[in-house]
Symmetry: C2
Subunit: 247 residues, 2 copies
């Protein structure tokens, strides 16, 4: 961008970032959704993605620690409820663990994060720190990958159910739930950003924040691809898939 945008033009610019940089375009996801991965590679993906899922409530709490407006906190806290659960609902992290359970991964091992790739942890912690240290406008903007998430979730549900015998409906509960949650959340975040990014510098910062977030997601798949697809060299202590009869 080179000049101040209207709110609508800003939304268009943000959506363009998704078209160019969202991780649905990453070769790892094309393999995953197209049924081209072995069982152990899907395990590695779910194990590493757990690190991200588990950190989201901390990311949202870090953002909330800077939110002086009670009404916005009352809105934003719903994201923590979504992932940690509230009352009887056990939330999205528990649904993710249902996926890793179903993939035959030991739950304590998954939760320990000991087998996750260091690059995954670095990317995730960068996101948590971003949310807690940047201005609220940028922290909120970094959540806007949710604009692009429903399409990838729908593609993932269909692709994984169709292509992998070891994936059934119970394992994709996380993604089904996100089909409802993510659009609700990103409507608020998008409206906030369109309303509050009123200078060129703010709009530039908002765009950079979303680019940063797409980098956080993309970098996780780069490291997964390197470790488990090609050249398939997991670093020391990282998860190593056991031999498995097939997909």
């Amino acid at each position: 961008m080179t000049e101040l945008l209207s709110p609508e033009a800003l939304e268009y610019a943000l959506r363009r970032i998704g078209e160019e940089r969202y991780h649905n375009r990453h070769p790892f996801h094309k393999l995953l959704h197209g049924g081209k991965l072995e069982f152990g590679q899907v395990q590695a993906w779910a194990l590493n993605r757990y690190v991200y899922q588990a950190a989201i409530p901390r990311k949202d709490a870090a953002l909330m620690a800077n939110l002086e407006d009670r009404e916005i906190r009352r809105e934003w806290i719903g994201r923590i409820h979504d992932h940690d659960g509230l009352g009887p609902d056990q939330g999205g992290i528990e649904r993710w663990l249902k996926l890793t359970d179903g993939l035959g991964l030991d739950r304590a091992y998954v939760m320990s994060q000991q087998g996750a790739l260091p690059a995954t942890k670095f990317a995730v912690e960068a996101y948590v720190r971003f949310a807690g240290s940047r201005p609220t406008l940028e922290a909120i903007a970094s959540s806007l990958t949710e604009l692009f998430a429903p399409a990838i979730h729908a593609e993932r549900i269909a692709g994984m159910l169709e292509n992998y015998s070891f994936i059934d409906e119970s394992l994709v509960a996380y993604f089904r739930k996100r089909l409802d949650q993510a659009p609700r959340d990103c409507r608020f975040a998008l409206a906030y950003v369109k309303q509050h990014a009123r200078t060129y510098e703010q709009q530039k910062a908002v765009i950079d924040a979303l680019v940063f977030k797409t980098d956080v997601l993309w970098a996780q798949l780069d490291s997964l691809y390197f470790a488990y697809v090609e050249p398939a060299l997991p670093p020391p202590d990282a998860f190593v898939p056991a031999a498995h009869p097939g997909k």
Copy 2:
């Protein structure tokens, strides 16, 4: 303390801190509860204390940003619900604003915090930062002034209703509610601290954290006393009570 304590002895040491340093012992509170303050001085107290109330959810979010254990987050988030409200419940901050409303203070002025004492804001922000930057054990320990809060709330309710014609039941709703909430919260926090402070260094850090918190509360009353009781010199831009027919 000079040696490792049993969990019970640690609890005793923590309770002793309350007996020696909790702000119920501060001369400002003795004046407040004893009916010795003018209307404008009670206004100044409620206006400044709002700064503290409004920051508590940010403090708890800052603490939660470091909580890696989902079960503990699911417990701790209840504190944010208490103060911000959840769903139809508008929470403790709104109940505090009912008090400042009832004391004739303009709500937008109160919420702007423009009339609050700088020393109040500094103390409150020190608490928010402490909760977000210290180890979780210390951050949780700093909440333990709740062990001592029910007594001061009960004393405050009785003393203010009895002594001030401008205080009625509707204005003390915040304190009535805290009579239930604070004991529930501090049971969890006390059990956590007793379980996790297992070295001398940890126990010392826990005790220091609670002392720090009593300092945060005490410092607010020192500055109130200076500004509005004796010598009664509010700093530039601070709230100045209007003349009022009496208490």
